[in-house]
Symmetry: C2
Subunit: 356 residues, 2 copies
């Protein structure tokens, strides 16, 4: 059952890669995550057996009472295979940590993948909303509603002075993490990105790779997120992050224009070569593919490449990931087999793509 539902997902890109919404040439996605814990239970790490099962059922019942999650699917971890778990991680629907948890846990998903809930991750419940394009405020609006709907039937652990209590003190207060995934190839190319990252650090913002904490920034994708969760209103956090991201977008756009002006041939060359390799390789790693697809995406944004749209290209970023390849193949693949299948898939998908 679980697998059937996940198999349906493979045919569409995850919401965060749909290339819709404002500024979607640079802002891949807007994401908000809330951490919530319940009074009357130990924190997840020391919660065991029957209590875990009780907590999961309590959340499941609460979900059933909301309007926003009426159409959701609910999975217990014993129904999820290793490839299923990895698949959900690749689609940014659950965290690596949650995928690794062997004890009782559950996942709740909306089919459009905009809302997902992890039950018994580091916190008792983490609610995520993920949408393509730059629309943090809109996302926050829905999240706020959902949070209120769930709060009606769940005993949120809330302290009048500290706010929402969380397993890790860095999340205490609002329990909110807001992030946007940006594609910043031009800033990387003109070697201005490190400046941007330094500035972010000073503002207590974090920049991470595509797959969150501890992951490398492959393919020139950067997740920019708030670090401070305490002592601020959620809307203030959204506002200040939006302002910063708007500036970064401006810098990236300037960098792209500067490249087009001062080194058009070099730029065309890099984009062309990337496309040439993607269209003609027979063995390719996911890392190399991400790097080359990033150049192709830039080419598309600058109209230097034709014959496809951003959504198709974004979808490829996802399909080339290990467990997506295995789900397509309907079997486990060795690393070498994946490199061959990945090359085949990319050649096939980019067949009609040409330099403009």
């Amino acid at each position: 059952m679980a697998i059937g539902f996940l198999d349906e997902l493979i045919n569409v890109p995850g919401e965060w890669l749909r290339a819709e919404g404002p500024e979607s040439d640079i802002v891949i996605s807007s994401r908000i995550r809330l951490a919530r814990n319940f009074s009357g239970f130990f924190f997840s790490n020391i919660l065991e057996g029957e209590a875990r099962r009780q907590l999961i059922e309590m959340v499941r019942e609460a979900i059933a009472k909301t309007s926003l999650l009426k159409e959701s699917e609910f999975f217990y971890n014993d129904k999820l295979t290793a490839v299923d778990n990895e698949f959900l991680v690749e689609r940014h629907l659950i965290s690596r940590e949650h995928a690794r948890e062997k004890r009782e846990r559950a996942v709740c998903l909306m089919k459009d993948e905009i809302i997902s809930l992890m039950i018994l991750e580091e916190d008792h419940m983490r609610i995520q909303m993920l949408q393509s394009g730059f629309k943090l405020k809109e996302v926050w609006g829905t999240m706020d509603t959902l949070d209120s709907q769930l709060e009606k039937s769940l005993p949120y652990a809330f302290h009048p002075e500290f706010g929402y209590l969380t397993a890790c003190p860095t999340n205490v207060g609002t329990g909110i993490r807001i992030s946007s995934m940006l594609h910043l190839p031009a800033l990387v190319m003109i070697k201005q990105l490190s400046k941007v990252l330094q500035a972010l650090q000073k503002m207590n913002l974090a920049a991470r790779g595509m797959y969150g904490e501890g992951t490398q920034a492959t393919g020139n994708f950067f997740q920019i997120s708030n670090q401070i969760t305490l002592g601020l209103d959620e809307l203030d956090i959204v506002d200040s992050l939006e302002k910063v991201i708007r500036q970064i977008i401006g810098h990236e756009r300037e960098a792209r224009q500067a490249l087009l002006k001062s080194r058009k041939f070099r730029l065309q060359d890099q984009i062309g070569r990337a496309l040439g390799i993607l269209k003609n390789s027979y063995i390719i790693s996911s890392n190399e593919t991400m790097t080359l697809l990033s150049m192709a995406r830039l080419g598309l944004d600058l109209s230097l490449i034709g014959g496809m749209n951003t959504r198709m290209l974004n979808e490829l970023f996802l399909l080339i990931q290990p467990s997506h390849l295995q789900r397509i193949a309907k079997r486990t693949l060795s690393a070498k087999e994946r490199d061959i299948r990945r090359a085949e898939l990319v050649r096939e998908r980019l067949k009609s793509v040409e330099l403009a």
Copy 2:
């Protein structure tokens, strides 16, 4: 006048790249060069002014009396521009040394580029025959005839014990240098080429790059030639070199089959990527182009690439050289301009080439 004739040449590949003749998938060309000097003149290096002019006229008259050079063109160096000289070097019709000589010198060419004569290079006269494919004996037959025709009207400096006298002692005796240009990508890929080169050294044979002595072996092209010119009959030298080359051809063929068998994907990958870059780059050096064209040529030989023939591909090896690009552009180009024009030319020429 000179320039007009050279402009005609640009539209056809040099004879040595016509991809005709036996074993032309591996043996690009067969080349024989004879060094001849005349009694009554100092060697070229110390010969000056009027004596140089006299020598040139003497050779010109002798040429006119031969049947084989009846249709030839004759150029004095003051008619050759820097680009003309470089152009002739790139087509293997004159040596770099000859191109650099500022004093009186001359070049005689057959339009089919099979026979060329350098007058007042290191030796008074060097006769070259260059044909595509593996046919050293055939080439030697014609060369022998031409040599006899010229000898009738030229005072060859010949010593009963040492044979033909030459400016450099390494050429004394027969004055012959026989070479074949081989394309050995598979031996390079399976790392067996150094063994082959070591064996050649033991047999007193030399292996050089595409542009002769002191040049690097770019594009997996190797010129194999005799070193010993003294104490052997010309036909014996041809024979023994033929035997060795036949062995190398065998090794290269085995290596290609081994690659197809044991690492087909890797091979396809390398060939595909090379083609992908060639078809999509906007700035490319001649060295990189040679390396990538070498892979494309291997792909063509192994039927992994379609949409073109070897001759078209071979022609590209020549057209991408600096002075060929400048002759096409009809003006001097900076290195950067050449890299851009080269990429443009290659993209255009390989437009219809695809992986099979």
